[in-house]
């Protein structure tokens, strides 16, 4: 198990990589953008992005804006 900070909230998960984490947390959609520890992780790289205890993950999505 790893403890990760996902969008500011602590999660205990088994996922070894970012793609697995998205799947485990139910995130779907081609419009999602991800970053790990302040570094963008492009869609094709998510399965190779191995996660470590304490990693900070941001999952962003299109929203209204001015």
């Amino acid at each position: 198990m790893r403890t990760l900070i996902v969008n500011g909230e602590e999660h205990r998960v088994d996922s070894a990589d970012l793609a697995a984490l998205l799947s485990a947390l139910g995130y779907e959609g081609p419009w999602l953008a991800t970053a790990v520890n302040g570094r963008i992780v492009h869609k094709p790289d998510r399965a190779r992005e191995m996660l470590r205890d304490g990693d900070r993950i941001e999952i962003l999505s299109p929203m209204e804006g001015g």
């Binding site: 969008n7 500011g8 947390l25 139910g26 995130y27 779907e28 959609g29 419009w31 999602l32 953008a33 991800t34 970053a35 302040g38 570094r39 963008i40 492009h42 869609k43 941001e58 999952i59 962003l60 999505s61 299109p62 929203m63 209204e64 804006g65 001015g66």
Partner: protein, 257 residues
Amino acid sequence: MLSLYGVPLRSRLLLGTARYPSPAILARAIEASRAQVVTVSLRRESAGGATGGTFLESIASPGVRILPNTAGCHGVSEAVLTARMAREVFSTNWVKLEVIGHHGTLQPDVFALVEAARILTQEGFEVFPYTTGDLVVAEKLVEAGCRVLMPWCAPIGSAAGPTDPAALRAMRAHFPDVPLIVDAGIGRPSHAAAVMELGFDAVLLNTAVAAAADPVSMARAFADAVEAGRAGFSAGLLEPRDMAVPSTPLIGKAVFS
């Protein structure tokens, strides 16, 4: 025709997508505004992706281009990372670069803005910087690679209108060949017409439409105001003067006494 980073646009009104009463009213307001560019943001997704997908559907239209923003970012690294993520999500090099420096006025941190603009243009972004009316900052942004400038005319959401027309006039005179878009502070259609009469190339607004009692009608009113202001500028406006000038010719006037 207006051209922003090589993209020709018939409409000179750019519309924000925040604070509308419903997605349906937003979609109708975009249509009524005749805008070809709408701004969007990126936020933390809490519903597994569903929220973002629903929102994208509500603004999707073949004639509408998306301008992602970095709204709410407070430093260079945060703004740059958000821009990179937005480029991936929206498959566009366009980014409205906001780096907020003051909580009360939402005034941009112009030092961080210039630095972020430099980094992003080097990465191939086409940056639309939200800036103040300061000419020196504007020069630095152009040097950093910005080919569009977006000065405020009043603080975001204030609806105060052009509080310093002299600054806008100076910017127009100083950058005759750079597309200038007034971003932030427009409250009513007459404000939009006024800045277009100053020779600005376009207007970007949000709250004035979204928070109106009837956003769809207000969107149409702004579309008309922007066109009227532009037409007035193009047709050649008279300069105001202090004394009267008779509009009817005096030659041939009857003499009765």
